[in-house]
């Protein structure tokens, strides 16, 4: 019975969501909000692109640096360093992103580079700590079996450790990018550009429409990126270790 119920519930929920979006759209149209947003389409597109660029550069760099760093810190010879790093990462994760931005600005001044750096640092922490947690959670007997069969450390990493840690690593990347997309509007405060420009301008000028012209695309972008990552997570993790499949 439960097997039959779940897809049905999911279907109902999806239909409900479509209905809600439609009603919201109708209401927004009637209230003059959507036409207002369309007026600002050029701004939205330009700043939205800036926004995406900031996310892509800082988030991409965080993935490219964070995953290998996490791998490195779990290698036997860096075990001690890894323990210490994990402590710092845990402390680092408690620092509010706004503070990270401010610190970055005091270091690198106003502009894109300090915004990208701050976003990079904020995204790096969850990626590194999740990569480490995922790799450390691989059951020791899998490693013993692999070693006993004569797999080289490289084989072990690529064929056993990473695939079995992949789900946790992905979760770290999703968390990191969620933080990243949500923090980019704040980056406007240190001269980073992006949709934050519309949001903060809207607030400052008390223009509700301008604010929403920044807020709604930001929200949609966050949902979209998470959706894409969820799909990647679903399809690229082997079925044997993918709790979603």
């Amino acid at each position: 019975m439960a097997d039959g119920m779940l897809p049905m519930l999911a279907q109902m929920r999806r239909n409900g969501a479509y209905l809600a979006v439609f009603l919201l759209g109708a209401w927004a149209w009637a209230g003059g909000l959507l036409p207002g947003l369309l007026d600002k389409w050029d701004d939205i597109a330009f700043l939205g692109w800036q926004h995406v660029t900031l996310v892509a550069i800082s988030g991409g760099a965080a993935i490219v640096v964070g995953v290998p760093l996490g791998v490195l810190l779990t290698r036997p010879r860096f075990r001690r360093a890894g323990d210490i790093a994990l402590q710092f990462l845990n402390i680092g994760a408690t620092i509010p992103t706004l503070a990270v931005l401010a610190l970055s600005m005091s270091l690198l001044g106003i502009g894109d580079s300090s915004a990208i750096f701050a976003l990079f640092v904020a995204s790096l922490l969850p990626i590194v700590s999740n990569t480490m947690a995922g790799l450390r959670a691989v059951p020791p007997h899998l490693l013993e079996a692999a070693r006993g069969m004569g797999l080289s450390p490289r084989h072990m990493l690529l064929q056993v450790e990473l695939p079995n840690a992949l789900f946790v690593i992905y979760t770290g990347i999703r968390t990191a990018l969620a933080i990243n997309v949500g923090t980019v509007p704040l980056a406007f405060l240190i001269g980073g550009g992006g949709l934050g420009e519309l949001i903060f301008t809207g607030i400052a000028l008390n223009e509700f429409g301008t604010m929403l012209a920044g807020a709604i695309p930001t929200a949609l972008l966050a949902v979209l990126i998470d959706f894409i990552l969820a799909q990647l997570q679903f399809w690229t993790i082997p079925r044997g270790v993918n709790p979603l499949r």
Partner: protein, 370 residues
């Protein structure tokens, strides 16, 4: 094939050696079970063979070549390894798991995939149904079968097995043990097998090595270990019923009186009595025209009675095959309340008989000689 020469291991931070000057020689194609209580050094000894643990002193030779001279990953690829937790990789399918070592050895893909299917066939798992399953979709017993197949996939001459059937329920364990022995009869690997279960050891081993506190205290065939334990420790460890355990090691064929006297349906009871008295038997088996066991008559029942055997025989309560072990034979006797059994081959032909007295005599032979 595997030779340990004065091998010792002292772990850092410890003063007493975990393994103390162990010398051991396992002939090619035999199963050597390393047996002992936990902490006796048996697993450490085994892991020194594939250098998961490096020996502190002594040398280990495989096929005459010192393992220390090998590149360690090359060495391990030439030795199959099975662990209690099985350790199938959950991210890989059954096929991928089996083909791991062939793949890293650079075997042709078609060849290794074909091999995987053949191996599955060997343990009666339908390749079509199992090759593309993931480990989490298998039962514990199926997983352990795959674990063994993975270890022999690249056809290594030597196999190390660390309590491989320890985590499987008793019923399936017996099935898998039997299956493994059948497979071993074909593949003839040289095997080091760690166990803490004397019954498993008696069943699987060609030789048993008993360990205590890092020392090898006795290394001999199962029957000799059960019949002549070298010390109180060994006799305590193998158990008070060690003589009964020897029953498992002997087959009906060992104890059988072959080509015994018999009677036919047309013979008279008088002739039957005469035959029995001539051989000093209390009963005699009636066979059909082609020699199938049909029934029996007893000396008591036949003496003084007239008529033919065919009209006056009793049916046999049960029979036994020559390849069964004596434990099964004794158990069958007790179940049917008889002290002898007629032995028949696959076609039902009468080939001999066994008696309880014969068993006792056979088991005590070794004590008389010694």
């Amino acid at each position: 094939m595997i030779r340990l020469n004065q091998v010792s291991k002292t772990f850092s931070g410890s003063t007493t050696p975990a393994v103390d000057r162990v010398s051991l020689d396992v002939p090619e194609g035999e199963i050597c079970v390393l047996l002992g209580p936990s902490g006796c050094g048996k697993t450490t000894t085994m892991k020194m063979v594939n250098r998961l643990i490096e020996p502190s002193s002594g040398e280990i030779l495989i096929d005459g070549k010192n393992t220390a001279d090998y590149d360690v990953t090359q060495l391990r690829r030439s030795i199959g390894y099975v662990i209690q937790q099985i350790g199938l990789f959950p991210n890989k399918t059954v096929e991928e798991n089996i083909c791991i070592v062939p793949d890293i050895l650079g075997w042709d893909r078609a060849k290794s995939r074909k091999r995987a299917a053949e191996l599955l066939d060997m343990v009666a798992l339908e390749p079509g149904a199992f090759l593309h399953r993931y480990p989490r979709e298998l039962s514990g017993g199926q997983q352990q079968r795959i674990g063994v197949l993975r270890a022999i996939a690249a056809d290594p001459p030597v196999l190390l097995m660390d309590e491989p059937f320890g985590a499987i329920d008793p019923i399936n364990r017996v099935i898998i043990q039997d299956e493994f022995l059948k497979m071993q009869a074909q593949i003839r690997k040289t095997i080091l097998f760690v166990s803490h279960d004397i019954d498993e050891a008696v069943k699987m081993a060609d030789r048993i090595a008993i360990f205590k506190d890092g020392r090898l205290v006795q290394y001999d065939t199962p029957d000799n270990i059960l019949a002549h334990p070298a010390s109180n420790f060994v006799s305590d460890f193998v158990g008070g019923d060690r003589t009964l355990k020897r029953l498992q090691l002997l087959t009906v064929r060992d104890a059988m009186m072959a080509d015994p006297p018999r009677v036919r349906a047309a013979d008279t009871l008088k002739q039957a009595v005469a035959t029995m008295e001539e051989h000093g038997h209390q009963s005699i088996v009636l066979v059909g025209p082609r020699g199938r066991a049909r029934g029996y008559v007893t000396l008591q029942g036949a003496r003084g009675a007239g008529g033919s055997v065919g009209e006056n025989h009793e049916t046999l309560p049960t029979t036994i095959r020559p390849h069964e072990d004596l434990r099964t034979a004794v158990s069958t006797m007790f179940r049917h309340d008889v002290s002898w059994l007629a032995c028949v081959d696959e076609d039902g032909m009468y080939v001999g008989y066994v008696t309880l007295r014969g068993f006792t005599r056979l088991l005590s032979e070794t004590y008389r000689d010694g």
